[in-house]
């Protein structure tokens, strides 16, 4: 009976999403506040019923109701409750329900928090959001219904992919979806703005918090995924350029470009057309990612069960949404007013460069991901794209971006002079080269690549600090004044400082872990040792035991440094009888300076064990950098919400410097909305 209630909730949610869409579009046309209010109520209702359906699915998994097909196929009675519940979204049907849950959540949140928007605009945003909901609820009901029953009812489920039995599954997919699907808001706001006509960039002010929220979640989601892969796959990799990873990276890259171009629209009324286009493209990348993962069109380690009908369905959604959005853009964009003119050597100019580079990088990732498909279709040579391709394309494009992201925030809006600018970045250049030379000398010139990476990281970190130095006039004004200025800095500026700092930390981690890593392998019996990165590694003993639904072999390994410091490591191999498969549970000692990573391999015929060791210097900063970036986003989001009054975005320092933009022509903005 309970699964049928879940199914019924999905039908009701579909009905309400249709109401939300219809009322959202019809309300503004008829200028009827009642119809527009209906769209809001429908958004709440849609969220409620999707949430109930989701809760029911969680319950079915928690109670191991094997009369439901997806539970029987993806769960097992011996699993710990924690992982039974997490299995709810560990397969195609359940994860699509999570997808729609997040979509409905954003719709309801816009209906609730969007009170500062004009009613007609909010109704149209909800209309578009409702339309996406209609598409995806139809998709679930017709091709991926999680509440389908199974008869005869099996006594036991088929178990769950053991690789997914990790705390990562609880946090990674939900965060990733909040980001991925959260970009639907960018799409909805852009399309609503295109329908309303020239809005003087006002739509960006309303959309920015939502775009930021999605960006924050996606940043955290990708970081968590990378951390998960690192600990679970047993060979110390943290990024694979797998099609599915690329599918989440592409919306992140475009979303990052969008967060920056939105800034230009908001502050300077330039780049509005471009930002509209970017908003549509960002969500299109999310849709494309969903398509790639669910259709099985590309070979990936993450692939779900493949069904061509599902692929076709999502392709139709992609064509309708992206095609419709781009067609509307093509019709409306030429009629939008051209933005204010700015010099190339200015803050706007640097943000344009940021956008060009980010979009180009997205293009190369896109090409790398789909190249095998293009080649296959053209029927010529067969080629697979791996790490070498990305090393050749991604890095040369990322380098200028990272160099420019220090320069940009230190430029004035509208127009800047080379002399004033050179004085501002001087300390960054000096410190970056100092670190480069010091690292080069410390490694006796043997690892120049590491020196370049660390120099770049310093450049970024110093660059972030320089924003603060400049805004708070540190060193130019008395200290007390600087402190006051720093306190008065808008949260958004702090957000930018922290986010840029996060990139610096990330680069530091990537540099250390890619250019200075070491790996070793040894055959060890109990009591035997081997030397690795200056430590003596000894296999103390091997023990076996039982976990909740697995059997394990655990090695105790002590890594002793010459100064007597001991690191205890306990790598495991686990065997899951439910799926007859083995996993590796690596043991990692993480310190700010580097990780020592040990994985247990096979037992060879003479009774000894293969043990693999990896040293990843600075690796921890890869993930900490990701989280710091997200924290910067959070600060910007908080700033955005607390400063939603009259346009007061520019810092006091800039007002004094005389670069404050002309007051916002609020009336011009309101015209289009009315």
């Amino acid at each position: 009976m309970i699964p049928e209630i879940g199914r019924f909730c999905l039908y009701l949610a579909l009905g309400l999403s249709i109401v939300q869409m219809a009322a959202g579009f019809a309300g503004p046309l008829r200028a009827s506040p009642r119809i527009m209010a209906l769209s809001q109520s429908a958004a709440f209702g849609q969220f409620l019923f999707v949430a109930v359906a989701f809760a029911i699915l969680v319950r079915l998994f928690a109670t191991s109701d094997f009369s439901v097909m997806v539970v029987a196929a993806n769960s097992h009675t011996t699993k710990p409750l924690f992982y039974k519940i997490a299995a709810t979204w560990g397969h195609h049907e359940g994860s699509m329900l999570l997808w729609v849950l997040v979509l409905a959540l954003f719709g309801a949140a816009i209906a609730y928090f969007g009170r500062s928007m004009p009613d007609t605009f909010r109704a149209r945003v909800l209309g578009v959001q409702g339309l996406i909901g209609v598409f995806f609820l139809l998709f679930i009901i017709f091709t991926s219904n999680p509440f389908v029953r199974l008869f005869p009812v099996p006594l036991e489920g088929e178990g769950f992919n053991p690789l997914l039995q990790d705390p990562g599954i609880v946090s990674h997919p939900p965060m990733l979806y909040l980001g991925y699907v959260g970009f639907s808001t960018a799409f909805s706001f852009a399309v609503a703005a295109l329908i309303e006509g020239p809005a003087g960039g006002l739509w960006v002010r309303y959309a920015r918090p939502w775009i930021l929220a999605a960006w924050i979640c996606l940043t955290i989601g990708i970081t968590l995924g990378s951390l998960w892969a690192y600990s679970v796959l047993g060979w110390g990799g943290w990024w694979f350029w797998d099609p599915v990873e690329n599918a989440s990276l592409m919306p992140w890259l475009l979303g990052t470009a969008l967060v920056h171009s939105a800034l230009v629209v908001e502050r300077r009324f330039s780049l509005e057309r471009w930002t509209l286009l970017l908003s549509i493209l960002t969500f299109s990348m999310s849709l494309l990612g969903t398509f790639v993962v669910r259709s099985g069109i590309l070979t990936s380690v993450h692939a779900f069960a493949v069904d061509p009908a599902r692929g076709t369905f999502i392709l139709i959604i992609l064509i309708l949404a992206t095609g419709g959005g781009l067609a509307l853009y093509g019709l409306r964009a030429p009629g939008l007013p051209s933005g204010r003119v700015f010099g190339l050597f200015s803050r706007e100019g640097s943000l344009v460069l940021n956008n060009i580079l980010l979009v180009t990088i997205t293009g190369t990732v896109f090409l790398g991901t789909f190249y095998p498909l293009f080649i296959e279709l053209s029927g010529k040579d067969k080629i697979s794209v791996g790490v070498p391709y990305y090393a050749l394309t991604f890095v040369p494009l990322a380098a200028p971006l990272l160099l420019a992201m220090v320069i940009g925030p230190l430029l004035l809006w509208r127009k800047d002079s080379a002399r004033g600018w050179a004085a501002r970045i001087g300390p960054g250049v000096f410190l970056a080269f100092s670190v480069l030379i010091l690292t080069g000398a410390a490694t006796h010139g043997r690892n120049l690549l590491l020196a370049v990476w660390l120099g770049l990281a310093t450049w970024l970190i110093v660059g972030a600090v320089l924003i603060l130095v400049r805004r708070a006039r540190i060193g130019q004004a008395p200290f007390a004044d600087s402190l006051k200025l720093a306190r008065a800095l808008p949260m958004a500026t702090w957000g930018a400082i922290i986010a840029h700092l996060g990139i610096g930390l990330l680069v530091c981690g990537l540099g250390g872990a890619t250019t200075a890593k070491e790996e070793g392998v040894a055959l060890l019996g109990p009591g035997q040792s081997t030397a690795f990165i200056g430590r003596q590694l000894t296999l103390k003993d091997i023990s076996t035991g039982k976990g909740p639904n697995f059997e394990y072999v655990r090695a105790r390994i002590d890594a002793v440094a010459p100064d007597g410091d001991v690191i205890h490591l306990t790598p495991e191999r686990r065997f899951y009888p439910e799926r007859q498969s083995e996993t590796t549970k690596a043991s990692v000692r993480e310190t700010p300076l580097g990780n020592l990573y040990v994985a247990l391999g096979d037992q060879v015929t003479d009774g000894r064990w293969t043990v693999r060791f990896y040293s990843h210097p600075l690796a921890i900063w890869i993930w900490l950098g990701g989280f710091v970036m997200a924290l910067g986003g959070v600060l910007a989001l908080v700033g955005n919400r607390t400063q939603s009054g009259p346009r007061s975005g520019d810092s006091a320092a800039e007002v004094r410097a005389g670069s404050r933009p002309a007051p916002a022509p609020a009336a011009a903005g309101a015209e289009g909305v009315a």
Binding site: W235, G296, S300, I319, L377, V387
Partner: protein, 183 residues
């Protein structure tokens, strides 16, 4: 920054046109879903080949090594993430006696040898195909891919993507058992 009206219209419609082309490509791509598309070589004899060794001092891998046997030929590379995911399972299958042969594809033999040293060697024999000639003849679209070849040297099945326990139990193991009994 001031564009003529016509240019502006063209620029505004360009994204739609580009997307249109992409949509057509994706549509045809879906028809050719790589994991359901059988290799054109299925049922045909495997090409003759003689690959050099991955590890210095090995004998490499040639067509003669698998004459008269039912074998799996696994295409991999040290640069391929999915192959590393598949690797532990291949080790398990090899320990259970599965006849797996390896083709190290588009890879520097030194890198391939390092991977085998670090992660173990599941292959009866393994050869290096740095130039990608054999893989081209086999119609490899990406790594990992695994070919099932029968006693007469005919390709009977092509697995695209990693061999998982499901694939092994559901498809490969029954096919191998049948081929070994049948002929």
């Amino acid at each position: 920054m001031t564009l003529s009206r016509k240019m502006l219209l063209a620029a505004s419609l360009a994204p739609l046109l580009v997307f249109g082309v992409l949509a057509v490509v994706l549509y045809f791509g879906l028809q050719q879903d790589p994991s359901t598309l059988p290799s054109v070589l299925i049922g045909k004899p495997a090409p003759t080949f003689a690959l050099g060794p991955v590890r210095a001092g090995d004998t490499g891998f040639s067509r003669d090594d698998i004459r008269g046997k039912v074998v799996l030929v696994n295409v991999w590379g040290s640069w391929c993430g999915a192959c590393k995911m598949e690797h532990p399972y291949l080790m398990e299958l090899a320990a259970g006696g599965a006849p797996i042969y390896g083709v190290d594809w588009k890879d520097d033999p030194a890198d391939g040898a390092k991977t085998l040293k670090m992660m173990g060697d599941p292959y009866v024999k393994v050869g290096n195909d740095q130039a990608g000639r054999l893989s081209l003849d086999l119609g490899v679209t990406g790594a990992p891919e695994t070919f099932l070849i029968d006693r007469t040297g005919r390709i009977r099945y092509k697995q695209i993507g990693p061999i998982t326990p499901e694939v092994w139990r559901g498809t490969l193991a029954p096919m191998i058992a049948k081929l070994e009994q049948g002929q």
